[in-house]
């Protein structure tokens, strides 16, 4: 039983270690994109997100440092710390509510889009979307062109059939006249 517990524990350690290392490596390589970590939907950085980020790191690192001094036990979290985190999270929530209460202000401003990193990202996204739409429009135009060509072929075939029918009708008329002796 003790060996089994040790094996499970070391497996868990290895899994968590690999997970942490993978997350760090992906962030470093850019596979996990943090460029908009503290940005608002408009592309500008948000002070309330920045504040929440700082407090989260400070409290989390403090907690883990104190676990070591507390002989491996998690220390009690005082109410003052919880209040501080509550103030920070409430500021973030209120800020987000204010931003989303006026949706017309959430769109990036054209003047600042060119010279800001967030604006550039938004402009790139818009350009990508526009190029997707252009490709779709081109495909639709090609499909329409093919349909028009097919219609022209069908129209020519129909015209030829009409012509052939008229010729046959004329021949039949001629044969009928010949049979009845009515020469034209």
């Amino acid at each position: 039983m003790s060996v089994m517990a040790q094996v499970c524990g070391f497996t868990l350690c290895a899994f968590l270690g690999a997970l942490c290392a993978t997350i760090i490596a992906w962030i470093w390589m850019g596979k996990i994109d943090l460029s908009q970590l503290i940005s608002e939907p408009s592309g500008d950085a948000s002070m309330s997100r920045f504040q929440l980020l700082i407090f989260t790191f400070v409290i989390a690192i403090s907690l883990f440092v104190l676990v070591e001094a507390n002989h491996g036990a998690i220390p009690d979290i005082p109410s003052g710390v919880l209040t501080l985190l509550g103030i920070s999270a409430s500021t973030y929530a209120v800020s987000k509510g204010i931003s989303y209460s006026q949706p017309q202000l959430l769109t990036p401003q054209a003047g600042s889009a060119a010279d800001t990193g967030g604006g550039a990202a938004v402009a790139q996204a818009a350009a990508d979307e526009a190029s997707e739409h252009a490709a779709a429009a081109q495909q639709a135009a090609a499909t329409t062109q093919a349909a028009v060509s097919q219609m022209a072929v069908h129209a020519a075939a129909a015209q030829q059939a009409v012509q052939q029918t008229a010729e046959k009708e004329a021949k039949a008329q001629q044969a009928a006249d010949k049979a009845t002796g009515n020469q034209p």
Partner: protein, 113 residues
């Protein structure tokens, strides 16, 4: 080495690594910080309430980290009421300022259209 110590060091290393990467990306500009101090009403003016919130945040965070470094008993130090009043007031000023600017900008846009 016991498993709990290995886990503890793994998670502490992850937190330090994450904090270091976030700080590095902020300093090198990979995390967008443009407009952090600017008003969001279309002007490029610096917003005083954002600067005071940043200063209060840095002061409170560094003060708390100092208390944690001094703590030898292993208990988390409490945050004094004065710091809580400071952060509450500072955040309140920021939120009220942001609400005011947002709604006045919205009214201006509404008047134009």
């Amino acid at each position: 080495m016991p498993i709990t110590r290995i886990l503890h060091f793994e998670l502490l290393g992850f937190l330090y690594g994450l904090a270091a990467i976030v700080a590095f990306q902020m300093l090198t500009g990979r995390i967008n910080l443009k407009g952090l101090f600017q008003q969001k009403d279309g002007s490029t003016q610096t917003s005083p309430e954002r600067i005071q919130l940043l200063l209060a945040t840095i002061a409170a965070a560094s003060s708390y980290l100092g208390e944690v470094a001094k703590s030898s008993t292993g208990t988390m130090p409490d945050v004094s009421n004065n710091w809580l009043y400071l952060m509450g007031g500072s955040s309140g000023i920021y939120a009220v300022g942001k609400a005011w600017k947002t709604w006045t900008s919205s009214n201006k846009l509404g008047g134009r259209s």
